[in-house]
């Protein structure tokens, strides 16, 4: 097992190298270049030269990349051009908030999606199934910003149960307060993703239910409940893990709309802000962090797969 994990980690290194080069090279795509960003439009040639030296842009390109990389691996992406704060500090403030929201959202999605999928699969073709299909279509069809605003209007403005703007409160410090500010954005994201998960899981449950081993289980007298829970579900969970992993990964940088509606301090919004201000060290930092989390999740998915599916050799 350890060997399997180490091998998978080693496979990630070339991917990371190539990706990091692309991320670094981004600075040349910024209009006016990094120097232009730093000194502004009316800079004198002297100012430009000074900035160029300061940024190390007068050195050969491989050296520039190497310098950036050696700093990046220690978590140093430089300063934000905008706030002058270290990029690491800015990301460090947002990352826990994002992870926390991702966790709550995926839990909401699973708690809604799994029962919907199982019920739909067991009652396939019945009115219950059609009802649930409609529910999934609704979950997928309602725009996130609209649902978010609706929830705020209902629970914050009308009923005054929950805050409309979500602060970041660490779960382990004050679980009650944390959940109060997570529940609405978590529902907004989770409901949408529950539609995706339920559709996927139902399809794979239905296709597993047709497998020969299910007929064997029935033929040896296993009850329907155990056939679904013990035989079909376990097999259908394999491909499902991949989708759940993908969804969690998506929450890391892709929850921009929800974060904006609830003014939640997440990574997605930080990245959008960085892009709109052309704050390239911050953009680079965000993208690297998102990429690393993607890879970590895909590694976890692979490990889970290897643990659950005996057909995968990991020794």
């Amino acid at each position: 097992m350890t060997g399997f994990i180490l091998r998978r980690l080693a496979q990630l290194i070339p991917v990371l190298l190539i990706a990091s080069f692309a991320i670094w090279a981004m600075i040349f795509a910024v209009p006016g270049g990094p120097v232009g960003m730093m000194v502004g439009e009316n800079a004198t040639p002297e100012e430009i030269a000074a900035a160029t030296r300061k940024l190390g842009l007068d050195r050969p390109i491989p050296v520039q990349y190497f310098n950036w990389l050696t700093h990046a691996v220690t978590g140093d992406f430089g300063q934000s051009l905008h706030s002058r704060d270290p990029v690491t500090k800015l990301i460090g403030e947002r990352l826990p908030a994002t992870l926390q929201l991702a966790l709550v959202s995926i839990l909401v999605a699973l708690v809604i999606g799994i029962p919907v999928a199982i019920t739909g699969a067991v009652k396939e073709g019945s009115w219950v199934d059609r009802l649930l299909n409609g529910w999934n279509a609704l979950a997928l069809g309602v725009p996130t910003f609209w649902l978010g605003i609706l929830l705020i209007l209902l629970f914050s403005v009308e009923l005054r149960w929950l805050p409309s703007a979500s602060r970041y409160v660490p779960l382990w410090e004050d679980p009650n307060q944390a959940l109060r500010s997570l529940i609405l954005p978590g529902l907004t994201l989770g409901l949408y993703v529950s539609g995706i998960l339920a559709r996927f899981l139902k399809a794979s449950l239905v296709s597993e239910a047709r497998a020969d081993y299910v007929r064997t289980a029935r033929a040896k007298g296993v009850s329907e409940r155990q056939i679904v829970g013990h035989h079909i579900m376990q097999n259908a969970l394999l491909p499902f893990i991949t989708i759940v992993g993908l969804m969690v990964a998506n929450f890391i940088g892709g929850a921009v709309v929800t974060e904006a509606v609830f003014t939640y301090p997440g990574l997605g919004r930080l990245l959008i802000q960085a892009i709109s201000t052309r704050d390239y060290p911050l953009i680079q930092g965000c993208i690297v962090v998102i990429l690393v989390i993607y890879m970590a999740i895909s590694l976890i998915v692979d490990i889970l797969y290897a643990v659950i599916d005996p057909r995968i050799e990991y020794r």
Binding site: D212, Y213, T216, R218, K220, G221, V222, E224, Q234
Partner: protein, 367 residues
């Protein structure tokens, strides 16, 4: 093998019988019928073969009888187990029958086992359900069963998964699972079709051995008369969802009384000398939604006449315990007997003398 004479009166009811059993599949608004009212009986300890080309309704009949086909399959008629109609059984009682009174094995054993559960778990499941065994007791019994079906190194195999075993071994595992419930009858649906010849003979030998030891009944379904002939006391030939001929195995092989059965026999590879004067059948089984009127075999039948299309032929006596559903039965029996006599005169082995070579052939293969 001792077993009661079929049809003996006053005795206990047959172990299993189908009476005017039909199966249809819901298709959009309508239904497509694929099994058209068949009668079959199986006495305790008897081995019944069901033969016919692919698509004749062999599998559907037995799966539907045990209500294993889901809601889309609609059945009529009766399925009696020891005289009790299964249609009155609750899901719970049915679960006791499945795997408990009636064991099933299928084609393609590897896909019939759950890919992510250990072999031991899958045998243990049947032991728990039908014998109430768990833990150490279940493990001991699972080991004994694996040993019984001829799997060496049983303790290690218990911990393995289907993909780590060969197809033949997986079929042995399937047999072990079926035996776990100590059933009265094993329904084996094409149990050797997916396996190569040597393994096929071994699996058939294993089934024969187990039957000798336990007296378990057998319903052996196959498209291959050779496989059936080797193991069964009696054979029912199915064509397009009907039984078209049934007889004791030797009778059926020695004097087939239906053109379709004769075609199946002709298609068999025979090893030494005897060349049987029969024409194999060309063409294919009609699909259930395009059934010819009258005799369903007519479009392929070398003996068909115009009146074969008028009404469906019913099973009628064609010898002792021998039934055949052919409108031209009387005429053809005469014709076949004359033909047999001619061939006997020429010292050419004939249908009646057809010595069944298959058993010996398989002995050779497994040696």
């Amino acid at each position: 093998m001792l077993h009661p004479v079929p049809g003996s009166t006053g005795a206990a009811p047959p172990l299993l019988s189908l009476e005017d059993f039909t199966v249809a599949f819901a298709q959009g608004a309508g239904r497509t019928r694929v099994v058209h009212g068949i009668d079959l009986t199986l006495q305790r300890g008897e081995a019944l073969g069901i033969v016919g080309e692919s698509g004749c309704g062999k599998s559907v009949t037995w799966l539907a009888a045990l209500r294993l086909l889901g809601k889309r399959a609609v059945t009529t008629g009766r399925v009696l187990l020891n005289g009790r109609d299964l249609s009155g059984f609750s899901e719970r009682e049915l679960a006791d029958v499945r795997g408990g009174r009636i064991g099933l094995i299928f084609q393609d054993p590897t896909s019939c086992l759950n890919p992510i559960l250990r072999i031991g778990t899958q045998i243990g499941e049947a032991l728990r359900l039908h014998r109430g065994l768990t833990g150490k007791a279940a493990e001991r019994e699972a080991l004994r069963l694996l040993d019984r079906v001829g799997i060496a190194d049983a303790p290690r195999r218990l911990r393995q998964h289907a993909h780590e075993l060969s197809g033949g071994m997986n079929q042995r595992v399937m047999i072990a699972i079926a035996l776990a419930g100590e059933p009265d009858v094993l329904v084996a649906d094409e149990p050797t079709t997916a396996l190569d010849a040597t393994i096929q003979a071994q699996i058939l030998d294993l089934i024969r051995d187990i039957r000798r030891d336990t007296g378990m009944g057998l319903v052996l379904i196959s498209h291959d008369l050779g496989v059936i002939a080797d193991l069964c006391d009696r054979v029912a030939v199915m064509y397009a969802g009907r039984v078209v001929e049934t007889a004791a195995t030797q009778d059926l092989l020695g004097s087939p009384r239906h053109p379709y059965t004769r075609g199946l026999l002709a298609a068999l590879p025979s090893l030494e000398g005897p060349r049987v004067r029969l024409t194999p059948v060309g063409g294919t089984v009609p699909s259930p939604d395009a059934m010819p009127p009258g005799c369903a075999f007519a479009p392929r039948c070398a003996y068909a006449e115009a009146h074969c299309g008028n009404g469906i032929p019913v099973l009628q006596p064609a010898g002792t315990g021998h039934l055949s559903a052919c409108r031209r039965l009387d005429a053809l029996m005469g014709e076949w007997q004359r033909q047999a006599a001619r061939e006997a005169g020429r010292h050419d082995p004939v249908v009646q003398d057809l010595d069944w070579p298959n058993r010996d052939r398989q002995r050779e293969l497994s040696a």
